[in-house]
């Protein structure tokens, strides 16, 4: 009986193979049908690639959470986890309701989008694009939570977070990425682009995501003030974080996410230049980390772990604008300079500006973001030249060091200035209003007790008896 079944099975398979072989050549395909089929596969590939890339960027919120809790004290862990968690969850809803429309809706004067709110009237392809852009918007917003950690009230942060995803981020994003003819920094009809003669280029958001987030963080820390005990007679002191393991895991998760962040930003699953993008991204990241390790080693006698981790992130942020426009060598130089900016930026913030940023977010995202924008103007190879012979999405013209003159550098610098004016200025006004209406900072006794118990009635590690200063 069993043997008969086996025989029957074999016969069936053979029949199927013969039938397929007979039927296939019969179905002749026209050239048009063939082209259509290829087109369909390519579209599907882009959809799938962008969903994978979005998933990687979504996962970066795990990274942000871990870096921020690792570099701060255990008494504020639950509060920081909640702030990061609510950033992505509110981000989904707010970017759906308002943010996307402001960023990609029908253009008004090159400044702001005006329709597609609640994703009304959009097609299936737009859902794909929305999801990718949404995870970016939430990334920009969450940068602020680390810089302002350990003393900013939960309610105040939520209000800021909503306004960031609804207005601050998407308005600047509209100027750069909306594709509108009049888009302030990139549209051919924009007076700025006309005057300088070349469009601004920010591949995946050194400016749009990181600078805006970083300078919003600077506005926040200026207003909220330093943590109790950070400065004594104006001299900055160390407040060690509670878990370097989390900080390093988070940093590596962020780096993983950058494969989606930069790699996905060609917005085309068939663009072979995503490979150059990913290689450049990691060269810069590595150079940034090595550079900070060497600087701290020379300056203090010991290589500093958490600053070195910041160095990797600085390299990643800086290369986010130029990654599709520059050579491998230039990427390493960009990462090395990002490393210098990380160390100098963290020290400048504490020694000169006297601001308290427990995780280094302002140096990582603000300063290195600006450097990334400028680096396009220096190192861009230009579409059609050398390794960019077939590139579709890169800075159009060569940069200053590649014989392109100062035009590209000038428009990149314009972007830097606008991102500072907008990111710092508007955030400052919004934080000021929040401060006046609900108060930005928790009372002193709550800050000393820790925000976990005061704001959430829980400790992140309830079974540990922790001694805190």
């Amino acid at each position: 009986m069993l043997k008969n079944m086996e025989k029957f099975g074999k016969l069936m398979i053979l029949t199927c193979v013969i039938l397929i072989a007979l039927s296939s050549p019969g179905a002749a395909v026209t050239a048009e049908e063939n082209a259509q089929a290829i087109n369909d596969v390519q579209t599907a590939l882009t959809f799938v690639w962008l969903l994978v890339a979005s998933a990687l960027v979504f996962f970066m919120h795990t990274g942000f959470s871990l870096v921020e809790i690792g570099l701060t004290r255990s008494k504020n862990t639950a509060n920081i986890l909640m702030k990061n968690f609510m950033t992505i969850t509110l981000g989904i809803l707010v970017y759906w309701a308002v943010g996307w429309g402001v960023m990609y809706g029908a253009d008004a004067a090159g400044l702001i989008g005006t329709d597609q709110f609640l994703l009304m009237g959009v097609d299936n392809a737009t859902f794909n694009g929305w999801f990718f852009q949404m995870v970016f918007a939430a990334t920009g917003a969450t940068i602020v939570s680390g810089a302002m950690a350990e003393r900013t009230g939960f309610k105040a942060y939520l209000v800021y977070c909503i306004l960031m995803v609804a207005i601050i981020y998407p308005v600047y994003g509209h100027w750069v990425w909306s594709g509108a003819d009049a888009a302030l920094l990139t549209g051919a009809e924009s007076p700025i682009v006309k005057a300088i003669g070349v469009a601004h280029h920010d591949f995946a958001g050194s400016g749009v995501v990181h600078s805006i987030g970083g300078y919003a963080a600077l506005a926040g820390v200026l207003l909220v003030g330093a943590r109790i005990g950070k400065f004594r007679n104006g001299k900055p002191l160390a407040i060690p974080g509670h878990n370097l393991t989390y900080a390093f895991m988070g940093t590596l998760i962020l780096a993983l996410g950058w494969i989606g962040f930069n790699g996905g930003s060609t917005l085309d699953g068939n663009d072979p230049y995503m490979n150059l993008v990913v290689v450049n991204t990691f060269l810069s990241a590595a150079a940034g980390a090595v550079m900070v390790m060497l600087i701290t080693w020379m300056k203090t006698g010991k290589p500093d772990p958490s600053l070195t981790a910041n160095g990797l992130l600085g390299g990643l942020v800086a290369i986010t604008a130029p990654c599709g426009s520059v050579s491998n060598g230039a990427s390493i130089v960009i990462g090395i300079i990002a490393g210098i900016i990380i160390y100098a930026g963290v020290m400048f913030n504490e020694n000169v500006l006297k601001v308290d940023d427990p995780v280094g977010a302002i140096a990582v995202h603000g300063y290195c973001g600006s450097w990334g924008l400028l680096s396009v103007g220096l190192f861009s190879i230009g579409i059609g030249n050398g390794i960019l012979a077939d590139a579709a999405y890169a800075a159009e013209v060569p940069g200053l060091l590649y014989g392109g003159g100062v035009g590209l550098l000038a428009i990149q610098a314009t972007g830097v200035i606008l991102s500072i004016v907008w990111g710092l200025g508007v955030s400052y006004v919004i934080f000021k209003i929040i401060d006046l209406v609900i108060g930005l900072r928790v009372p002193e006794e709550i800050e000393i007790m820790g925000l976990d118990i005061a704001e959430h009635d829980i400790r992140a590690y309830p079974e540990h008896q922790l001694i805190e200063d």
Binding site: P236, L237, A238, I239, P240, G241, T296, K299, T300, K302, D304, S306, L307, Y343, V346, M347, G360
Partner: protein
């Protein structure tokens, strides 16, 4: 009867515990404590800045012994816990008035 109280480096606990057991002194009480000696703690580094940890984690071992065992145990702990570096700790010896075994009610020498 005497109590030997040794404050040692936490990293030395296992070595000290094992060598005591080998020498026939299995009973002991261990507590995680914090403290400092003449060096006033230790300078560490966070994000490029020095800071002083002025109370360091230490381990306290307590053993109660009869008088004839004291010298052997103290010397054993001293030898095993020593690294020759600062912060190796100290050993204190106190007289013990009385001992009671909770389970049986045995007293003093019988209870050890």
């Amino acid at each position: 009867m005497y109590k030997v109280e040794a404050i040692i480096k936490p990293t030395k606990l296992h070595e000290v515990k094992d060598s005591l057991e080998e020498a026939g002194f299995a009973s002991l009480t261990v507590t995680e404590v914090k403290g400092r000696g003449q060096q006033k703690g230790m300078v560490q580094q966070w994000r490029g800045r020095k800071y002083c940890v002025d109370l360091l984690p230490k381990t306290k071992i307590e053993i109660v012994l009869s008088e004839d065992e004291i010298d052997e145990v103290v010397e054993l702990i001293r030898k095993t816990a020593s690294t020759g570096e600062i912060g190796d700790g100290k050993i204190f010896i106190y007289p013990v008035k009385s001992v009671v075994r909770i389970r049986t009610g045995e007293k003093d020498g019988d209870a050890l």
